[in-house]
Structure formats: structure tokens, C-alpha cells
């Protein structure tokens, strides 16, 4: 066993750090550090900065404009991003659709869509969840019926994150109702400006507009926007679940958040001393600190064992569960640290709002209950 990085990897870390020092706008870093919401143009600005350096699509092969980095490099990159409070990459284009197109898309699709992800021409959102199909994603009902050169799409998607900014959506749609419910699903790319699409905001408990409902009424989608084979969309969606696991545990972000938590608690007094010296609060922080240190290693163990980024589903599920539990605990402790000051809606650092917002971490992206099912199936082989 060897838990150290090579000199070459350390040099790479220095390179990333230098890049961030020179190129990360301080206004963006400050927004991230204080848990403020980024605007559309904030995101676009950051994507453009990364893309200019060729670091937007970390997990794509070099020939498509990706980095071709090793697992260690991707890990270091994310670590440095978090440490500098750099925004994350909005995953839908670069991390979700991109890999699917690269593996299953036609040559024409790759040629057309991949550059547009990189240069920001398209903002993608994800059309998976439906009101009746949450954890039971495969029971989705939004239908696409072939009509000549088009599919006619009808139905409703929901929880569409940042869909209000998107001009494109990749959707799972039902193209057949025969066989197992997983078998009649297709993967379709839809222009959000097509007539018949309506986007309605969903306001979350923190009062923010982050997710949307999207209604499709007789929406005409050209057949060339079908990815891969009709009725095989479930395979592509599942591929996504195993593909990009580097970030699933969110350890780098948690490390940065824990550091912020310590700073916040240091500034709070209890009985005249910094809250960090209160035995009960110090114990709470130490517990999550240790859990996180363990998770750093668990995360690397899984990533390296799984080789080229395709972690076994159950190991990824383990990272998702404990990683989000750690992240949520840190936001919980930040809320507790504020004491009575956690009550105003607009705390200077958005702490209570972030705590509330991050309840989503254990719900979205495959709820932690679904992840437990995945693990128990694998453990029990039954």
C-alpha cells in the first residue's frame, strides 16, 4: 500500500493551484465559500475559463476535447477546486450527456453536440424524474411516439435542476410499453424551444428557484435526436450511474466545508470561549472530521480499485450514502454553530438555507434508500 502522491502528481497539483490563483475570479470564490447561489452567467463564465484551459471535460478522452487524466489527477483537480472555493462544473453537459454521447452516440451526434457542450453553446438539463416515478425511475410515462421523421413527446418531467437556464434537455422517454418496464425506454435530445414545452418553477423550502417541472405537449423531436437504439435508453442511463464516480462522495467539497465550519465555530462564543472549545461541539466536529478522513481513503480505494472510472454500482452507492451523510452533517453543524443567529432567512453566509437545500443530497441522484437497496442486493446476493 502507498498513500502518497508521486512527484509528478504533486507537480500537477501545483499547476492546478497556480491556474486557479490566476484564473478563478475572486467574486465567484467568495460566492461559493459563503454558500451563495451562482447566476447563469457565473456558471457560464467559469465553464469558459475551464474550457479555455482544456479542463472542462475532465473525464472525456483527449480526442473529444477531454483531459485524459488519471484517476489521481482527476482527484487532485477536484481537491484543488474545492480548496480554492471554485465552482463545480454543472454536470449535465460535461459529466452526464457527454460520456453517453461518446459511448453510444452516432458520429454525427458526437461531432455536433460535444463541441457545443465545451464552448457553452448549449446548456443541458436532465429529464429523468417524473411525478409518479421517483425512486422507481423505470416506471416513467412520458411517451415518444414515432411519426415519420419525428417523435411526438407527451408527458411531464420534474425536479429538473437549473432547467430554467437550459436550451436543451436529454430525456428518458417511453417508446414501448411491452416487456419489462426498463425495456421500452429511449434516450432523446430535445430542444427546449420546441413548441409545446412549458417550464414551471418549483420553489424549494429555502425559497429558491433551483428546480422545475417541464411539461411536454405534442412536442416534435427529430428522429436524429435519438441516442443509440430505440428502447435501449435504460442501458445508457445506467451507464451514467457507474461512469463518473470521482465526485460522488463529495470528499473534497466536504473538506473545504469542514474548514469553513471550523472558522464559523471559532467566531462563535459559548460561555465566553470559542465554540470550538466547547466539549460537545468539539466532539461533534471531531466525529465528522474522522468520518471524513476515513471517507477520503474509502473514496480513493473505490476509485482506484475500479480502474477506468467505472466503479461497481454497490461501491458507488456506499460512497453516495456516507458521502452525503457527511456533507449533510457538516451543514447541520454549521446551522447549530450559529445558535440563535441561524433563524433569520438571510444569514450572511447562507448557512441555514444551505442546510435546508442540502437535504436534497440524500434524496436526489438516487435516494439513499435506493442506494441501500443496491448495496443489500449485492451483499445478500438475493
Amino acid at each position: 500500500m502507498d498513500l502518497t502522491f508521486t512527484p509528478a502528481e504533486e507537480a500537477f497539483r501545483a499547476e492546478v493551484r497556480a491556474f486557479l490563483e490566476q484564473n478563478l475570479p475572486s467574486m465567484l470564490a467568495e460566492k461559493i465559500r459563503t454558500a451563495q447561489r451562482l447566476s447563469k452567467s457565473d456558471h457560464e463564465q467559469w465553464h469558459a475559463i475551464l474550457n479555455q484551459r482544456g479542463w472542462l471535460a475532465v473525464h472525456w478522452p483527449v480526442e473529444h476535447g477531454g483531459t485524459g487524466w488519471s484517476i489521481e489527477q482527476s482527484y487532485i483537480f477536484e481537491d484543488e477546486l474545492s480548496r480554492a472555493h471554485a465552482p463545480g462544473v454543472v454536470a449535465f453537459g460535461p459529466s452526464m450527456l457527454g460520456p453517453v454521447l461518446i459511448k453510444y452516440g452516432s458520429e454525427a451526434q458526437k461531432r455536433y453536440w460535444l463541441p457545443r457542450i465545451l464552448d457553452g453553446s448549449d446548456w443541458w438539463c436532465q429529464g429523468y424524474s417524473e411525478p409518479g416515478a421517483g425512486s422507481d425511475l423505470a416506471s416513467l410515462k412520458t411517451s415518444a411516439v414515432r411519426d415519420g421523421d419525428h417523435y411526438i413527446v407527451n408527458g411531464q418531467k420534474t425536479w429538473t435542476t437549473l432547467g430554467q437556464h437550459a436550451n436543451m434537455i436529454f430525456c428518458l422517454v417511453r417508446t414501448s410499453s411491452e416487456g419489462r418496464k426498463q425495456e421500452g425506454i429511449s434516450f432523446l435530445l430535445i430542444d427546449m424551444k420546441t413548441p409545446g414545452i412549458e417550464v414551471r418553477p418549483i420553489i424549494l423550502l429555502d425559497g429558491e428557484h433551483e428546480v422545475n417541472e417541464i411539461f411536454f405537449t405534442n412536442v416534435k423531436v427529430p428522429v436524429e435526436n435519438l441516442v443509440g437504439t430505440e428502447n435501449k435508453g435504460w442501458t445508457y442511463a445506467k451507464y451514467l450511474l457507474t461512469y463518473e464516480r470521482t465526485g460522488i462522495a463529495g470528499v473534497s467539497r466536504s473538506i473545504a466545508a469542514l474548514k469553513e465550519l471550523r472558522r464559523i465555530a471559532q467566531a462563535q462564543l459559548r460561555n465566553g470561549k470559542p465554540l470550538t472549545e466547547d466539549p460537545l461541539f468539539a466532539a461533534r466536529m471531531a466525529r465528522v472530521d474522522i468520518d471524513l478522513r476515513n471517507m477520503v481513503t474509502t473514496n480513493l480505494r473505490v476509485l482506484l480499485a475500479s480502474g477506468d472510472g467505472a466503479a461497481p454500482l454497490e461501491m458507488g452507492a456506499m460512497l453516495k450514502i456516507r458521502g452525503t451523510e457527511i456533507r449533510q452533517e457538516i451543514t447541520r453543524l454549521a446551522r447549530i454553530a450559529l445558535g440563535p443567529q441561524a433563524q433569520p432567512f438571510c444569514t450572511p453566509e447562507g448557512i441555514t438555507a444551505q442546510y435546508l437545500n442540502y437535504r436534497k443530497l440524500s434524496i436526489f441522484g438516487g435516494s439513499n434508500e435506493v442506494q441501500r437497496e443496491i448495496i443489500s442486493k449485492s451483499l445478500l446476493e438475493m
Binding site: S139, L205, G207, D278
Partner: protein, 370 residues
């Protein structure tokens, strides 16, 4: 031994509950909570007319209640309907006036719903410690103005401060003692800055700069403790009311929401989790009963019981809020569903008048000294 409310109290609870069901639906609540004022003077008057404010004070003070179980029945209903009106501040400030034997006129106006009061013990540095005070009292300069003082300092996160005509304020008096004062808001030197609160309604900070004030007592700490105990009993019962709704809503959802073709309430993992939530809530109810019963008793037993209760509802409130949201999934996070607002209230009660850790530590030191 008997765990049922007296007939009078049960009738009050039923009447008030029906009133709120009809007059204070969740839509009304959201409208009031989101309004520029963050409360409704009209609803406040309506509830006063029902006798709800009077139930918080004893006969000597012009009310007809004031005991722990009177607060219990009122605040449980407030929690059940997420009422944002200024009950907590009015209870605590009003009891301060009553116990100090001052301003029975103001108390009468309060009970009639013609005014509302605020209670300001928290300061930016104090973190639930009633004795941590930097607000300073000075005798008024005019020699002839006996009993009048000026206050300078800052009081923070006071619920519904803007709704109140007066605030009862704790302040340092000389070097080693503390006093409780009555301050008329809107007068020079008493500047209110308000803001929205996470759980609805509004709160505010009070900046005092040589604000004129009337001394209620120059030995504030025993009274502060007693009034805070009443506040904690009230909050504990409000929490019980809130948590009962969280439980009921989650049970309803488990019964009706289908995934994989069956109601999710058929999934054993969720069954066992809602059972845990239910047990936490029953234990919280018991803690609230214990605190209400101890409110009129000797100091040591009272303080142990209120700290035990506040610790318990803090813990249970977080569990109930987080588990309810999680078992609802995405919809549990939406503003549209009342559930999320109950969850926020359950969480924020944990930040008022001392959190879980504060009261656990306090319980430990009370056991050592008591």
C-alpha cells in the same frame, strides 16, 4: 395521577383548534407570514377575543390561566397551525410585567389583543446565556426622573419585534448585577431592524442608544430564568403540535404514495423509521408534560425539567423534520407542501431559548449543583 387535561382546558384547546382550522388555514398562514408585516393584527385580535391571550396569565394579572398546562394547550395549537403571531414574546414580556407587578394597564391591553410585546434577552455574543449581557443601563440624567433609565447596546433575533409596542429587555446594571427593563419601541434611541425568519414571520434586532427605559427589577436573573422556563414550556408544546403534524402528514404520504406499484408505507425500512419518529414524539410529549408540571415548582426541579424538555424537543424536532422530508422525497422539499414549513418550524424551535447541547450541558450542571 392523571394525564388528561381539565375540562376547561380541553374546551379551550378544542375551541381554539376549531377556530384555527377555519380561520388560519395554511394559505392564510402563508399570506400572513409573507406579508410586509409578517403577522396579522386582525387575527391577533380575533384570538384575543377567543380568550387565548388571557389564558397565558393568571387572575391576578387579568387573565384566567398562566399555569404550565394553560401554556401547553395554547402553544400546542399554535404549533399545529404554524401560527406566526407574537405569542412567545407577549407571553414572556407579559409574564415579566405580571411578576414584577408593573404596568397592569399594558397587560390589560395585551390580553385584549390591542397590543403585542417582545422579549429581548439574547445578544449577539450571548448564545443562550441569560447572564451574558453587554447592554448597559444608566440612570437617566434628569435628577427628578426617578425610576427612569437609559439603555445602550444591542439585542438580537427577537421574534416579531416589529409587531410589538414595547419590549422587555435585560441589561447590565452597574458592574455585577442585571436588571429587566421595559422599553417603548419607536421612541428615540430604540431602533428596530426587522427581517424575514426561516420559519416564516419576521424577527428583528434592537439597537439601543441611550433609549429611555423603565426598571422592572434590579435583580433580573431569577426572574429571567423563571420567564425563560415559561417560554421553554411554551416552545416545547408548540414543538409537540408541530411534530404531530409532521408525523400525520408523513403517515398519510406513506399510505398513499406509490412506488414500484405499491404504497411506500409497505416498505419495512420506512415503517421502522416512522415508528422511531413516533417514539421520539411520544417521549417529547412526556418531556413537555414534565416541564409544564414543574413550572410552578421549586427552582431546581423546574430548571432540570425545562432543560430536559428543551433538549428533548430539540433532538426530536430535528429527527422528525429530517426524517419527514426524507420519507417524502423531493416533494418534501417543496415550498408548496405544508410539510416543509412544519419541518422548518420544528428545526428553528431548536434555535430558540437554548439548543440541544446548551440544555444538555445545563442539565448536567444542574444535577451537579442541585
Amino acid at each position: 395521577m392523571n394525564f388528561t387535561h381539565s375540562e376547561d382546558r380541553q374546551m379551550l384547546a378544542d375551541t381554539f383548534g376549531r377556530h384555527l382550522d377555519q380561520q388560519y388555514t395554511i394559505d392564510v398562514r402563508h399570506r400572513i407570514s409573507g406579508s410586509p408585516e409578517g403577522w396579522s393584527r386582525e387575527r391577533w385580535l380575533g384570538m384575543a377575543d377567543l380568550g387565548i391571550i388571557g389564558a397565558l396569565f393568571d387572575e391576578r394579572s387579568g387573565g384566567y390561566g398562566g399555569s404550565g398546562f394553560d401554556l401547553a394547550v395554547v402553544f400546542e395549537q399554535l404549533g399545529r397551525s404554524l401560527v406566526v403571531e407574537p405569542f412567545l414574546g407577549s407571553l414572556m414580556a407579559g409574564q415579566a410585567l405580571a411578576k414584577a407587578g408593573c404596568r397592569s394597564d399594558l397587560l390589560a391591553q395585551l390580553i385584549a389583543g390591542e397590543t403585542a410585546l417582545a422579549f429581548a434577552s439574547e445578544e449577539p455574543q450571548s448564545r443562550y446565556d441569560l447572564a451574558s449581557l453587554t447592554t448597559q443601563a444608566q440612570p437617566a440624567q434628569a435628577q427628578h426622573d426617578h425610576g427612569t433609565w437609559t439603555l445602550s447596546g444591542r439585542k438580537s433575533v427577537i421574534p416579531q419585534l416589529e409587531a410589538a409596542s414595547h419590549a422587555v429587555v435585560s441589561a447590565r446594571l452597574g458592574k455585577d448585577s442585571a436588571g429587566l427593563f421595559l422599553v417603548e419601541l419607536g421612541k428615540p434611541g430604540a431602533v428596530v431592524s426587522g427581517y424575514k425568519m426561516v420559519d416564516g414571520g419576521r424577527g428583528g434586532d434592537l439597537t439601543l442608544d441611550r433609549a429611555s427605559a423603565t426598571l422592572l427589577t434590579d435583580n433580573a436573573l431569577p426572574l429571567l430564568e423563571e420567564i425563560t422556563a415559561a417560554g421553554i414550556v411554551a416552545l416545547s408544546w408548540e414543538a409537540v403540535g408541530v411534530m404531530d403534524v409532521l408525523k400525520k402528514s408523513t403517515l398519510d404520504y406513506l399510505r398513499t404514495r406509490k412506488q414500484f406499484g405499491i404504497p411506500i408505507g409497505k416498505f419495512q425500512a420506512l415503517q421502522h423509521r416512522i415508528v422511531n419518529v413516533a417514539i421520539e414524539i411520544e417521549q417529547a410529549r412526556s418531556a413537555a408534560i414534565n416541564a409544564a408540571a414543574a413550572l410552578a415548582g421549586p427552582r431546581a426541579a423546574r430548571e432540570r425539567a425545562v432543560s430536559a424538555a428543551k433538549y428533548t424537543v430539540g433532538r426530536a424536532g430535528t429527527i422528525a423534520a429530517e426524517e419527514s422530508i426524507q420519507m417524502h422525497g423531493g416533494i418534501g422539499m417543496s415550498w408548496e407542501l405544508p410539510l416543509s414549513h412544519y419541518a422548518k418550524r420544528a428545526l428553528m424551535i431548536g434555535h430558540q431559548l437554548g439548543d440541544e447541547d446548551h440544555h444538555l450541558s445545563r442539565f448536567i450542571s444542574l444535577a451537579v449543583t442541585g
